[in-house]
């Protein structure tokens, strides 16, 4: 004890002895001195203790917790965050339905579904605009009804029930080279090209019996003289033999017959019908029937200047015939001729559009034949086709999971069911497909996905004998192994992965990355900042310069170089994000140390013999704990954001789905399947908002003086 303090102590003792000797001050108003015997100690014999606190003691964390709980928005943020964490933990687990492995080709790009189809919202339907009207219409655009008064379905989907809603039905004439156009003109367009004088347009070959019968051909051509840049070619009627020879029946001519009046809105100038007798023309042109062989096609050849762009329109081409005596041909010959014609009212093909598409049609159920062919180096389209279009809301789940016609069914599959007694089927019966029957046992099992067999073909293999291949109608979801039609809450993405599971497994990856990186950054930052701040001086200067240089590297550059050099995997990402991520923490820690290391309590501890680690970790660091916790919470969304950004630059994680990878993948389909992007976008936005709310709430709770600075 120093002399000075000793002296002070002595003075204090002396003061204490003078308590009741108050001198002048001790006298009352009348000048009488107070008698000390009149005074007594109130608590002379009582032992005095501190009274017990009536309030409960609190700790720093409890206090912060109390302040945090007052901040409603942060609590809400925290709760949502907790919910997201929970989802990220539970939803990717196996017992939740949904597949996110591999590619499921039948389940791609499904819309979101929660309610039954037709509810109008979140019902697994997709509105497709401007598509062909899926029901048969007559020339006036009125629905053709069957005997029961129902519309006749001619759409392309296997199951008419897939159509939820048809709206905005409209009809017009236009250029539609699509199956839904009706009538119109077949257009053959030739682009200018070297050595390309003619182009052809002809039907399938037919066995014309020119000795017994007479044939006439009637056709109607159209021109479009004011179509800019297009010339009108010369035409001639041709015979195209099955051996590949071409003969002109008529000399090439510019004569198109008299032009009829233009229809309203019509682009093409139609010309009058022209009729030629095939027999006479062949005779005139000097083509003997022997030369042509028995089978030949009829058609047109168009010729023009090779450098010219030409366009020609054909509306009608009809072959009729009589026997030499004028009596009509028999029915089968007539119908075969009609199959080579188009445009007539009673013919098999009425439709220029259909003709041009070379639609494959079944001829007597035997083989697929396309009736007309065009050989032009430009293109063939359709003009002024009558089109009924509409906007259709499809039940996408029914299309992809529901009934599918004309599917191949293997023998092994059928045999399995036959052995189990689920179905009855006789491969060798005369009409084998009709013997297919699902037994009651099969109905009960619900495993048989075939509902109908429509065809059976057999191939003979040396090893296995006769192999039958069946075609038929199946229920897709049963074939895929589902008991009931699956429901994808958020739809599926381009590989058929269930979005709900996919997004949350991505969230899980991102959160794991975020938490690991934040943890490492906090540890490194705290240690670095502590050392730098505690020791100060040269150590501090050297360490600060190092962080300055490291901190100067843009993270995007660092991350790019590292991923390019070391590969796009989880550990490289973590490493790249850790390399500079700790600098912020280190500088806050350092400033905390600057603030507290000179305090008296630290000095006191040091005088009591505490060494550096104890001073750092027991006495100074706890002051910074609030800031550090806040910082580590706010670092997680930062890491997730960085990861997403780098994914967008094409350097995302490979073979591992993170939110960033999902976002950048689904971005490519934004215009077609926006729901695939919206879901992960909402999740990442919610995550960011909640993390920020939660982090700010924590900061305000730990350090009330900063409150309000968002």
């Amino acid at each position: 004890m120093s002399d000075l303090e000793n002296k002070n102590l002595q003075e204090t003792e002396r003061d204490a002895s003078l308590v009741f000797d108050m001198g002048e001050e001790g006298k009352d108003n009348y000048g009488n001195s107070a008698d000390s015997s009149q005074f007594k100690f109130v608590q002379q014999d009582a032992s005095i203790h501190d009274t017990k606190f009536t309030t409960k003691p609190t700790t720093f964390f409890k206090d912060a917790m109390r302040r945090f709980a007052k901040n409603k928005s942060s609590v809400v943020g925290g709760i949502i965050l907790g919910f997201l964490f929970l989802c990220a933990l539970i939803i990717p687990m196996d017992f939740i339905p949904g597949d996110i492995e591999g590619i499921n080709q039948y389940e791609t790009n499904l819309p979101m579904k929660l309610f039954a189809a037709g509810t109008g919202w979140w019902d697994g339907t997709r509105l497709i605009k401007n598509v062909a009207y899926p029901y048969a219409v007559d020339e006036n655009g009125k629905d053709i009804l069957d005997e029961n008064g129902n519309k006749i379905y001619i759409g392309e989907e296997d199951d008419p029930a897939s159509i939820v809603k048809v709206e905005n039905v409209r009809q017009d004439y236009g250029d539609y080279a699509a199956a839904d156009g009706k009538g119109g003109y077949a257009t053959a367009i030739k682009n200018p090209a070297e050595n390309e004088e003619g182009y052809y347009f002809f039907s399938e070959p037919f066995d014309f019996n020119l000795t017994a019968n007479k044939y006439n051909v009637t056709f109607k051509l159209g021109t479009w003289d004011d179509r800019e840049g297009f010339a009108t070619p010369d035409w001639s009627l041709i015979i195209y033999t099955s051996t590949g020879d071409i003969y002109d029946l008529t000399a090439p001519t510019k004569e198109y017959g008299s032009a009829e009046e233009k229809k309203e809105k019509a682009y093409v100038t139609p010309h009058a019908d022209m009729t030629f007798s095939i027999n006479e023309q062949m005779e005139t042109a000097g083509i003997s029937t022997a030369e042509t062989g028995t089978k030949f096609s009829l058609g047109f050849s168009f010729t023009s200047n090779p450098d010219a762009k030409t366009a020609i329109y054909i509306q009608k081409f009809e072959i009729t015939g009589t026997k030499n005596d004028g009596s009509p041909l028999n029915a089968s010959q007539r119908s075969a001729l009609r199959a080579r014609s188009f445009g007539g009212s009673n013919s098999l093909i009425e439709d220029a559009n259909e003709l041009l598409l070379q639609k494959v049609k079944k001829d007597d159920g035997s083989a697929n034949i396309s009736y007309w062919k065009a050989a032009a180096n430009g293109g063939t389209t359709c003009t002024e086709a009558f089109v009924t279009r509409c906007d259709i809301t499809y039940d996408q789940y029914n299309i992809q999971y529901g009934i599918s016609k004309n599917e191949q069914i293997s023998m092994s599959e059928l045999n399995k069911w036959i052995n189990l007694g689920y179905i009855e089927y006789d491969y060798t019966a005369a009409d084998a497909p009709s013997t297919f029957k699902i037994t009651e046992k099969g109905q009960a099992s619900g495993e048989v996905y075939v509902t109908e067999i429509t065809g059976q073909t057999e191939t003979i293999s040396d090893k296995q004998g006769i192999i039958y291949t069946m075609t038929g109608t199946i229920i897709r979801y049963k074939k895929l192994g589902y008991k009931t039609m699956p429901i994808h809450l958020f739809g599926t993405e381009k590989d058929g992965k269930d979005m709900l599971k996919y997004v949350f497994s991505g969230l899980r990856t991102s959160l794991i990355l975020g938490i690991i990186v934040a943890a490492i950054n906090i540890i490194i930052g705290v240690i670095w900042g502590s050392i730098s701040g505690y020791y100060g001086g040269t150590v501090d200067i050297v360490m600060e310069r190092l962080t300055d240089i490291l901190g100067g590297i843009p993270w995007i550059v660092l991350m790019t170089v590292l991923t390019l050099q070391l590969g796009q995997n989880f550990f490289v990402f973590a490493l790249a994000l850790c390399l500079t991520g700790w600098i912020g923490t280190s500088s806050t820690t350092r400033s905390q140390f600057y603030r507290y290391r000179g305090r008296e309590y630290v000095l006191a501890s040091r005088t009591l013999g505490a060494r550096a680690p104890r001073l750092i970790f027991r006495h100074i660091l706890p002051n910074a704990v609030g800031t550090i916790i806040t910082r580590s919470i706010l670092m997680i969304p930062g890491v997730i954001f960085s990861e997403a950004t780098i994914s967008y630059l094409g350097l995302g994680l490979q073979n591992l789905d993170s939110l960033g990878v999902i976002l950048s993948d689904t971005q490519k389909n934004l215009s077609v399947y926006p729901n695939q992007l919206i879901i992960p976008a909402i999740i990442i936005s919610m995550l960011m908002i909640c993390f920020n709310l939660f982090g700010n709430g924590l900061r305000d709770a730990f350090n009330p003086s900063l409150k309000g600075q968002d």
């Binding site: 310069r545 300055d548 240089i549 100067g552 590297i553 843009p554 995007i556 550059v557 790019t560 170089v561 590292l562 390019l564 050099q565 600057y594 969304p637 954001f641 997403a644 950004t645 967008y648 630059l649 094409g650 350097l651 976002l663 971005q667 934004l670 215009s671 926006p674 992007l677 919206i678 976008a681 990442i684 936005s685 960011m688 908002i689 993390f691 920020n692 709310l693 309000g708 600075q709 968002d710």
Partner: protein, 348 residues
């Protein structure tokens, strides 16, 4: 020498050292990457190789030298077979340095525009990026400022709560989500605006229309940032004692705000504008990629995709310098605008 000059010189020197170290590291790391295929026909490849020889990156040898690894190109010139090899990285590094310091030559593009100088490509790509960022600043500075003032003057009232919530959302939602949503609404669903950047040579109004979405998407976060900052600064000034004094000596509230509060709150905001102006350049990288804007950000991605390392190096150098200069400008401008702030002054 005034203190600020000394400080500035110190900071500039440090910045140059930092830039040098970073670029060295980047160069070495990038040059260690496998080479992309040299684009173009054989003549273009040969020209590229000869240029690389001139720059000191490649060795032109008339005998095969397997000790240098696989040759990059083999070409017969005037009856002599030439082989081209990569030099060791450290030699390339010194050649690179001397090229930059003596001729300001940053090398040639190997894949994007074969045989064009990297600097030319960067120059071509700067335009769209800078224009978009300038427009973003023009929109977001005043907006952020106005919102910030409204929020601060109505502190803890409805407008403040509304704006603060909005700011929280706008700051949190990543810009790539914003641009996706904007593209979905404005381009795909309503067809009001184009969904990609027009080809060069398109009429000016097409560019103007195409600018709307990226500028909006970029402004989203920037406006929120300015609003938050202005609000924080202004509320702090508003609660200070000199404003109370100004009121007591008889100034009206509006006089107080305009003459005293706003001016003083400007002090930290101006550096932020400067910093943001430079810093935002690097923020638009993903947006350029998504909206296919031919700027330096999408150049970065293309360089990686086509393995054009020379151009990538220049682009990275540019981004590094942008970051460093922004930092420096912010720190320096604090000291210049408000002399009371002495950055880097010794801690007492």
């Amino acid at each position: 020498m005034p203190y600020i000059v000394k400080y500035a010189l110190k900071r500039i020197a440090l910045m140059l050292v930092t830039a040098f170290v970073i670029l060295t590291l980047t160069f070495i790391l990038v040059k260690m990457l496998p080479n992309g295929v040299i684009a173009g026909n054989e003549d273009a490849q040969y020209a590229f190789c000869m240029d690389q020889v001139g720059l000191g990156y490649y060795i032109d040898s008339i005998i095969e030298r397997p000790e240098l690894g696989n040759y990059l190109l083999q070409k017969e010139v005037a009856g002599v077979l030439h082989y081209f090899y990569k030099k060791p990285i450290i030699e390339q590094y010194f050649a690179w340095l001397s090229g930059i310091f003596t001729q300001w030559n940053w090398g040639l593009s190997s894949a994007l525009q074969p045989s064009a100088s990297a600097m030319t490509i960067i120059g071509q790509r700067m335009g769209p990026t800078v224009i978009i960022n300038i427009f973003t600043m023009i929109i977001s500075v005043p907006l952020g400022f106005v919102f910030g003032i409204i929020a601060a003057l109505n502190k803890n009232k409805a407008p403040d709560h509304f704006l603060s919530t909005l700011v929280m959302v706008m700051i949190s939602v990543p810009s790539f989500v914003v641009i996706s949503v904007l593209m979905l609404i404005l381009a795909y669903n309503t067809n009001l605006l184009p969904s990609t950047w027009p080809q060069s040579g398109a009429p000016i109004e097409q560019f103007a229309r195409a600018m709307v979405i990226p500028v909006l998407a970029l402004s989203f976060g920037t406006v929120a940032g300015f609003t938050r900052y202005t609000r924080a600064e202004l509320t702090e000034v508003m609660s200070s004692e000199f404003l109370l004094l100004a009121r007591t000596k008889g100034l009206t509230k509006s006089q107080c705000i305009v003459r005293h509060a706003l001016r003083n709150s400007m002090v930290p905001i101006v550096p932020m504008i400067i910093g943001e102006f430079v810093g935002i350049l690097s923020g638009s990288m993903v947006l350029e990629q998504l909206y296919s804007i031919p700027g330096i950000g999408s150049l970065f991605v293309e360089c990686i995709r086509y393995k054009d390392w020379n151009v990538l190096l220049v682009d990275m150098a540019l981004y590094t310098m942008i970051g460093l200069v922004a930092n420096l400008l912010v720190d320096l401008s604090y000291g210049i605008i408000d002399p009371r702030i002495r950055m880097g002054a010794k801690a007492s």
